[in-house]
Subunit: 339 residues, 2 copies
Amino acid sequence: MATMQDVARRAQVSIATVSFVLNNTKPVTAATRDRVEAAMAELGYRRNPAGSALARGRTDIIALLYPALQRQLHATATRFFTSAAERASERGFSLVLWPAANEAAQIDELTRSGLIDGVLLMEVQLEDARVDALRRGSTPFALIGRTQDPTGLPFVDIDFEQTVVSAVEELVARGHTDIAFVYDHSGPTTLHAYGAIARASRTFHDTLAQSGLTGTSVDCRENPRAGRRLGETFRDDFPDVTAVLIMNELASPGFTTGLRRSGTAVPEDLSVLSIVSSETVASMSDPELTFMRAPAVELGRLGADAIIDRITAPDSALPHTLVPCELVPGSTLGDAPAR
Amino acid sequence: MATMQDVARRAQVSIATVSFVLNNTKPVTAATRDRVEAAMAELGYRRNPAGSALARGRTDIIALLYPALQRQLHATATRFFTSAAERASERGFSLVLWPAANEAAQIDELTRSGLIDGVLLMEVQLEDARVDALRRGSTPFALIGRTQDPTGLPFVDIDFEQTVVSAVEELVARGHTDIAFVYDHSGPTTLHAYGAIARASRTFHDTLAQSGLTGTSVDCRENPRAGRRLGETFRDDFPDVTAVLIMNELASPGFTTGLRRSGTAVPEDLSVLSIVSSETVASMSDPELTFMRAPAVELGRLGADAIIDRITAPDSALPHTLVPCELVPGSTLGDAPAR
């Protein structure tokens, strides 16, 4: 492996000059810099990672912990991820996909490796052992999501409460009084037990209660076929329901397919409002879904900023940022049918 | 920041013992190891990245270069990515998403940082400046995809040729003689100009020619709405076509929606065979698409193995691996209608 000496000899400069070029510690002429860089390229000289970044005690790498192997990356999660990576890159950091399970031991292993400057955690659960592990350690971290009590933790998250309140108010204003909330109930025993589901579900029932109404919870696994099966029998199983709030992106296009096949007119017989979704999936549905867009791009940037700020300015205020989803018109929302 | 001395003092062992524990260079008793690790945890000792991995001249990090910011991660690309990350993790490596554009300069910058051991390149173009940059450097690399002439390059790729031959033979065997190939033609001026499109398109026309037939190329952008618009006017625009081969995952569910809306019966009037796709997207279509599954999981593993083998056994044979897509039955493939 080529050394700094080799580079200096080839470029016909001193070792000190090579060091100046490598570490930008003293100005050198453009011609000298070019000669040193050419020599490094020709010799395949590999800058010691312990060089510039590590001399500052930093690697400029952030691990994004996402249980990608247990949980498919949705269109929405994907957009979040690429947005965070882009923002990190703008600020001179790289984002590592760490295909971790939700296990505290993996956190310890990762943070003790010394190869990363910070951790960004996704799919946070209400009680999350990974957060406890991060609190015990000294590696900067930030959450996309919130634990039950996020006081004292740096986080950015979707404002599920505000999103569901807006969605329910929209449906109630259109005269709907029998509303169902469709989501994957398998949460409590799996990775899905993250705060999103718990917060959205509780807000759904609370908001209806304030209008003197009672809502129905309906279970549906997160895939298009489960959505279609639900749609095919929905009117038989829930004859009084006139509006569905669905928080299940992958099942949502299948749900409208099932409704159509069973002769349920959307939105004449049944309104459908998909929340925490994306344009790509909403436009695969027929009719196109009215949906509330997950602020994935914005949250990705905010998440990257949150962890980078923890690294570069550890004394700055902890971010506690919530961003609601925004309504995007489609063809599945209408007034309640006359009875 | 805690030093090795601090750890040694707290654990009441010699600095040499701390080093043995850190680098696994000599056996120590379980009790001593526990004491050293407890001291490291209490002090928030951060292992110098220049420690174990770098002492071997390695960081055990691989960069997966994917132009994620220019190009949405499809369901298929996503599965590839998580599979490669999982395989890398099994072999003790981490996979970095490097949100790079297709620019050779970014390759130089990345490989010269010294922070990564290898590069895995996706969306390879027939003529690809990034590959030239990698050949000039000394960082191990492997391709997911192929350049025009991949001789001397390590690669794994979908066998687009075999996939298209199988697909066309399937359609011809069912009596179809007027077949269209739908894909995104914007390739030549954008990132889409990767080898996949070029190889598939050429093979489509060559295979038909061998049966004395002529095929039709049809352009469609990669999104559900473009697919729907195409489907809505397809029979009017191409009245003689009885079968469509579509290599455009995001547009495919919209295409069947458009066909249904325009009164085109699938597969009675028109057969549709989606290639290089996934179960998730195929099952969002109504009727469910007959498709040829991209071997994303298998290729992800093979890609990770390819680059890790280049790093750990640089003298081993270069991988030249092609994996065809496999037919998955659905409801959109039928015999040619009688004329």
